[in-house]
């Protein structure tokens, strides 16, 4: 039920301005949010979406403009004040405490108490209840860091919806979720909306936006581009508004970026895993990746996609099975040995496993290349600059300044930096775990094209993504995982559809 404009907005922002040293992140943005609506905030990577949210919730002080809550101008001094004012937020980066239990992460700050002390059994009960609300079956007393990024993202959402707020802000909550989890989340969002909660939703998945949102606000380079009713703006027009171009009907987006493997389907395998397994993480699996081939891994959250890939990079030790690279048996005990065999791994969790926020874009990009060369053969300064500038341009990293600190980049731009780091090492096998997470539509297509080109030049790619369309567009073969077991290997011969993959996952059919 879309909001009526006659209603008073629960939250309104007028002429908000935010400057960071050297960047104007928000320049006079107006924005309003009505009770009982789901409102999308759209824009390219770096458009200022997360900054707007952080200014709204007092994480960053604003440099101008006003925030009006329930008709009264307010000054929100910090996240705590925002919560007290009825604004509940999931920020873009998962912001929870890894050392605490899931239950505490959901309820800390508002723990149920008895005689002034934390009422632990009640706390666990309430946490378990709200976790079940999202159909999440996890042990709430286990520490948070024993779960994957996706589960952590769900826990952050649970934390935000557990409290009955007037305004719920979700900054890219679905970036690492599967269809099923997204469906669950949308069900919860609809329920809250019908109860009159105003929801602000950020996502780079246009289909999701069109499915759930009533209205949207588009930002372009820190300015307000416009506010639209979802029903009145076609997707192509939206994309045009986001990138600030003319609405061009691109026709069918080329539905396959995939090329035939350079050396034909019977090219020699680059890597062959036989019965590779790690107890508790992934059951024994066989996998062959040929040169120039893109192999996809599909499966639900926690199905073992990442776990399977980590073994190939030596990030975890396998407990059985063997790996052959170009015919010779190797033992991939550490990432170092894997790298020396020409394997690169772009992990899914950019914050804890990938980027170093205190270093610059340039330093982050050359890190892996430098490590591969060894520290005794440093890259010259000019060479580093060349490389950094080349990839900043190739991936459209913004701001395009190699000396910017990575922690000040928007989420999507950070992801691009991570990707660049591994692409330049010119690996023989590139493992990409959710490489397009949080990346805007334009850049996503660029990255897919890049991967296809690299494979065309003979690089092997293992591509993990929750987005089946993307997997189908890129991959020659798709491995399907279920319950930590590789259950099928399907050739992508044109007859494969997202639905048939889902069906395979559901039935767990053996190939």
């Amino acid at each position: 039920m879309p909001a009526q404009s006659a209603q008073q907005p629960v939250l309104e922002v007028r002429g908000i301005r935010k400057e960071f040293p050297g960047v104007v992140a928000l320049d006079g943005v107006d924005f309003r949010l009505f009770p009982g609506e789901v409102h999308a905030l759209m824009g390219e990577n770096g458009a200022g979406k997360s900054t707007l949210i952080k200014v709204l919730t007092g994480v960053h002080p604003s440099d101008g403009g006003e925030v009006v809550l329930d008709g009264r101008p307010v000054r929100i001094a910090g996240p705590l004040q925002a919560q007290l004012a009825g604004i509940s937020t999931v920020y873009q980066e998962v912001n929870l405490c890894p050392n605490l239990s899931v239950a505490e992460n959901i309820l800390i700050g508002r723990e149920p108490r008895r005689f002034g002390l934390v009422h632990w059994s009640e706390l666990r009960r309430r946490a378990a209840e709200s976790v079940a609300d999202l159909d999440l079956d996890i042990d709430v007393s286990a520490p948070l860091d024993s779960y994957s990024t996706a589960v952590q993202q769900l826990v952050a959402i649970v934390r935000a919806v557990e409290v009955s707020a007037k305004v719920l802000i979700l900054d890219e909550p679905t970036s690492s979720l599967d269809r099923e989890e997204v469906r669950q989340l949308f069900a919860v969002m609809r329920r809250l909306r019908d109860q009159g909660v105003a929801i602000l939703f950020v996502s780079h998945f246009l289909d999701q936006v069109y499915e759930i949102c009533d209205r949207m606000t588009v930002l372009l380079g820190g300015r307000l581009e416009g506010e639209y009713l979802t029903g009145e703006l076609r997707q192509v027009d939206l994309v045009a508004r986001m990138i600030g171009g003319e609405p061009s009907d691109p026709g069918e987006p080329s539905d396959s970026a995939r090329r035939e493997p350079a050396e034909g389907a019977d090219a020699p395998p680059f890597l062959r895993a036989d019965g590779l397994a790690r107890s508790g993480a992934i059951e024994p699996y066989d996998l062959t990746i040929r040169s120039g081939e893109v192999v996809g891994l599909a499966g639900l959250l926690g199905s073992g996609r990442t776990e399977a890939a980590r073994l190939l990079f030596g990030a975890d030790h396998s407990t059985r099975g063997s790996v052959r690279i170009e015919g010779a048996e190797v033992s991939l005990r550490t990432p170092r040995t894997a790298i020396s065999h020409g394997i690169a791994f772009c992990p899914e969790d950019r914050k804890t496993e990938g980027l170093i926020g205190e270093l610059t874009v340039r330093e982050n990009i050359v890190l892996a290349l430098q490590a591969a060369r060894g520290w005794t053969r440093p890259l010259s300064g000019t060479r580093q600059d060349e490389i950094a500038l080349h990839w900043i341009r190739a991936l459209g990293i913004r701001p395009g300044n190699p000396e910017a600190l990575v922690r000040n980049l928007s989420g999507g731009n950070q992801q691009k930096v991570l990707l660049a780091r591994w692409l330049i090492t010119d690996p023989k096998l590139l493992i990409l775990d959710e490489p397009t997470r949080g990346i805007d539509v334009g850049a996503k297509a660029e990255i897919q094209k890049l991967v296809a080109d690299l494979a065309g030049d003979g690089m092997s790619v293992l591509f993990i993504s929750a987005e089946l369309e993307e997997v189908l567009r890129l991959c020659h073969r798709v491995g399907v995982l279920r319950d930590r077991r590789l259950v099928a290997e399907l050739p992508n011969d044109g007859s494969l559809t997202p639905e048939s993959i889902m069906a395979t996952i559901a039935s767990g059919a053996q190939s």
Binding site: P98, N99, I108, E111, V118, W120, S141, D145, S146
Partner: protein, 328 residues
């Protein structure tokens, strides 16, 4: 998506590994002592451990709060010395009643901790630097009061020092032990069962997250240093009873013993993980090393330091291993 309940239990269990290691170590040391030396295996030896280390225990409790947030407090030894000095000076030179002096000393220590916490938070300065300055300041203040040791003859203090509380089986403890046990009990409840305590853990897990989750980061941070200041001054009061003197050279290097006890007790120096009972075990381990060496009789007391050094090394390696394994 399902979760494996066994895996969950294993994940939870891993947090207790350092605690377990310390307990095993303690039992092992005690058994070695009992086998080697006559008269070692007695309840009183164990109780003497508490009597001799009551003040260290209290100080280490405060240190646990700080270390759990990922901070460090180097000023504790100096605050202990200042407390002994202040007590002795006020009681002996000015004739103030102990019942007034003791609360005053506690207030001074708490305020000192509060101020350090406030500086650390407001100016975003490394706790290491701020508490190092605090350490110099407190030691320096001792000498402005008096260069020499001031001994205490006040009857209340001497009475307290000589009091023995009998326990069944011909055993006894000192009142300081009761105070220390009380402090441990209260701190345990605060750390594990109150919001303040849970915020301490959250802060140690990730300050940025704690802030975005809307937790009172500033208040918690300042509070842990105030708690540490309070515990140091209380430790100072107990040490005054034990030594019956105030001196600027009391408790030199105590901050390092306290940190060692916390680390051996299984608390991560990076914050966010550890238990108060671990600290108690850590203090007992340190005390037991000393006892073993005094029973041995021929080794110089410097061996205590060497053993503690070795143990610290092992425990820090152990922590590395556990943290390294934490990501599944």
């Amino acid at each position: 998506m399902t979760s494996n309940p066994m895996a969950g239990a294993v994940r939870r269990g891993r947090q207790y590994v350092p605690l377990l290691v310390t307990s095993v170590l303690l039992v092992l040391m005690f058994s070695v002592g009992s086998v080697q030396y006559d008269g070692f295996l007695s309840g009183q030896v164990l109780l003497n451990l508490l009597i001799d280390n009551a003040f260290l225990l209290v100080v280490a409790v405060g240190m646990t709060f700080v270390v759990l947030t990922g901070g460090i407090d180097l000023s504790v030894g100096a605050v202990v010395a200042l407390s002994t000095m202040l007590s002795a000076w006020l009681v002996e030179r000015h004739g103030w009643p102990p019942l007034l002096v003791i609360p005053l000393v506690l207030v001074v220590g708490t305020v000192a901790g509060f101020v350090m916490g406030w500086v650390i938070h407001s100016f975003e300065i490394q706790p290491f630097i701020v508490t190092l300055a605090g350490m110099f300041l407190a030691r320096g203040l001792c000498y402005t009061i008096s260069i020499d040791s001031i001994s205490i003859t006040d009857p209340t203090y001497t009475a307290f020092a000589q009091t023995r509380i009998p326990l069944p089986g011909d055993l006894f403890v000192s009142p300081s032990v009761l105070v220390a046990v009380g402090v441990v009990a209260v701190a345990f409840v605060v750390l594990h069962h109150t919001r303040l305590g849970r915020n301490v853990y959250a802060l140690g897990g990730s300050e940025q997250s704690a802030l975005l989750m809307g937790l009172p980061v500033a208040r918690t941070k300042i509070a842990v240093y105030a708690v540490s200041g309070f515990c140091s001054s209380l430790g100072g009061v107990l040490l005054t009873f034990y030594m019956l003197s105030g001196y600027g050279l009391h408790a030199v290097g105590l901050e390092l013993d306290a940190i060692a006890a916390v680390v051996i007790g299984g608390t991560l120096l990076t914050g966010g993980s550890g238990y108060l009972l671990g600290t108690v075990l850590g203090v007992l381990v340190l005390g037991l090393i000393q006892t073993l060496i005094s029973f041995q009789g021929t080794l110089s007391s410097w061996w205590t330091r060497i053993v503690i050094g070795g143990l610290l090394f092992v425990f820090i390696l152990l922590q590395r291993l556990i943290v390294g394994r934490r990501k599944v």
